[in-house]
C-alpha cells in the first residue's frame, strides 16, 4: 500500500486549498454558513455548524498568505522559463 507521508502531505495541502477557496459572499451566504449569520448566543456553547463556520473562516484567513506565496512561487519559475 503506497500511502506514504508525502502523499499525506499532498492530500492535506489539497484539502486546505479546497477549504480556502470557499468564497464567503458568493457561496457560503447562500448555504447559510456565512460567518456573520447568527452564530448563537454568547452564553451557550456553539454547535457544530458554528464551529465549522469558524474553522472555515480561520483556515481562509491563515492560509491566504501561505497560498499566495505558494502561487507566486509556482508561477515565477514558469515565467523565467519562457524568457
Amino acid at each position: 500500500m503506497a500511502f506514504t507521508l508525502y502523499s499525506l502531505l499532498q492530500a492535506a495541502l489539497l484539502i486546505v486549498n479546497a477549504i480556502a477557496v470557499l468564497h464567503e459572499e458568493r457561496f457560503l451566504r447562500h448555504v447559510g454558513w456565512g460567518s456573520d449569520q447568527g452564530i448563537g448566543g454568547f452564553g451557550e456553547e456553539p454547535g457544530i455548524k458554528a464551529q465549522l463556520t469558524n474553522l472555515i473562516r480561520s483556515v481562509r484567513t491563515v492560509m491566504r498568505a501561505a497560498i499566495s506565496a505558494r502561487h507566486f512561487q509556482s508561477i515565477l519559475p514558469s515565467r523565467t522559463d519562457s524568457v
Binding site: M1, A2, F3, T4, L5, S7, L8, E45, P46, I48, Q51, L52, L55
Partner: protein, 288 residues
C-alpha cells in the same frame, strides 16, 4: 634529568587521559596542573608555556559546545515538549506486562480511573491506567519488522518495502489522530486529553496487529480473524474514553439525555469502531 621531562609534558598535554607513568599524578583537570605537583619547576615552566594557550582553547571550545547545546535545547523545547515526553516514558517492566495484559484482556479490569497526584497525572510506572508512549513506539517498530517478515515469507520483500510500510503506518496514525482532534474540536468537548495521549491510544492498536500477524503466520487465516476480533481494542477504547470524553453523569452509567451527550457517545463509539477497521486495513495486505 631535565631533558626527558618536556617530551613527557608534551605527551601529557596531547593525551591527558592516557595512563600516567606516575600514578600519583592522576590528571583530570584541563590545566594539567596535576602533573606539576612533584616536579621541578624548570621544565614545568617550559611545559606551561603551551599550557595557558591550550587550556584557553579547551575552555573556549567547551563553552562554545555548551552554548550550542543550549541553543539546540531551547529551540527543540519549543517544538517538542521534551519534559512532557519524559512522563510518557517513565515505565518499568511490571507496568509494561500489566498493560499488555490489559490491552488483550480488557474485560477483567474494573477500575479505569487515572489516579492524579495534586492535579497532575501519576507517572505510568505507578498507575496502570495512565497512557504511555513506550508500548506504542515499541509495538510500531515490532510491527514493521514483522511486516518485513511476513513479506519475506511470500517473496515480496525488498529493503525499501520496510520503509514504505513504516511511512504508510505512520501516515495512517497521523490521519487518525487528526481526525479525532478535529472531531473533538467540532463537538467542543472540554477534556484533558492531550495530543500525545491520543497518539498513545492510537498506537496501542499495533499490539493487536502484531499478535494477529503472528497468529496468521503460525496458523491459518481463520486464526487471524479470530485473534484480530479478540484483540481489537474496542472495549479498551470505550472504557478509557468514556471517562475522558463523556460527562460525569454519563460516565457512571446514568442515562443522560441531550444532543451534546449523544454526540460524545457517538464520538466514543466511532473511535472504538475505527480501531479494528484500522487494524484490519493495515495488516490484510501483508498476508494475502
Amino acid at each position: 634529568l631535565l631533558s626527558p621531562q618536556p617530551p613527557n609534558a608534551g605527551y601529557r598535554m596531547a593525551a591527558p587521559r592516557m595512563a600516567d607513568p606516575h600514578p600519583l599524578f592522576d590528571d583530570t583537570s584541563a590545566a594539567g596542573g596535576g602533573g606539576g605537583g612533584g616536579r621541578p619547576t624548570g621544565p614545568g615552566l617550559r611545559g606551561s608555556a603551551s599550557q595557558p594557550v591550550s587550556s584557553l582553547a579547551v575552555v573556549y571550545g567547551s563553552s562554545l559546545a555548551s552554548q550550542g547545546r543550549d541553543i539546540v535545547g531551547c529551540n527543540l523545547d519549543r517544538l517538542i515538549p521534551v519534559g512532557r515526553l519524559k512522563y510518557y516514558f517513565a515505565v518499568d517492566t511490571i507496568y509494561v506486562g500489566r498493560k499488555l495484559g490489559l490491552l488483550i484482556f480488557s474485560f477483567v479490569h474494573q477500575d479505569w480511573q487515572v489516579r492524579y497526584q495534586q492535579d497532575t497525572p501519576v507517572a505510568p510506572r505507578f498507575d496502570i491506567n495512565a497512557p504511555d508512549l513506550y508500548i506504542p513506539v515499541m509495538a510500531f517498530v515490532t510491527y514493521i519488522l514483522i511486516a518485513g517478515l511476513a513479506l519475506g515469507t511470500q517473496n515480496r520483500f525488498s529493503p525499501d518495502s520496510l520503509g514504505l510500510q513504516a511511512s504508510s503506518a505512520l501516515a495512517w496514525l497521523i490521519v487518525e489522530v487528526l481526525a479525532v482532534l478535529l472531531s473533538l474540536y467540532l463537538v467542543t468537548i472540554n477534556t484533558d486529553l492531550t495530543t500525545i495521549d491520543l497518539i498513545a491510544f492510537a498506537g496501542y492498536k499495533y499490539v493487536g496487529m502484531i499478535i494477529g500477524l503472528v497468529f496468521r503466520l503460525l496458523f491459518s487465516r481463520t486464526g487471524y480473524y479470530v485473534v484480530l476480533s479478540w484483540c481489537c481494542l474496542s472495549i479498551f477504547m470505550i472504557r478509557t474514553l468514556r471517562l475522558k470524553l463523556l460527562s460525569e453523569a454519563a460516565a457512571e452509567g446514568v442515562l443522560v439525555r441531550g444532543a451534546k451527550n449523544q454526540l460524545r457517545m457517538y464520538l466514543t463509539m466511532a473511535v472504538a469502531t475505527a480501531q479494528p477497521l484500522f487494524m484490519y486495513w493495515l495488516t490484510y495486505h501483508l498476508l494475502r
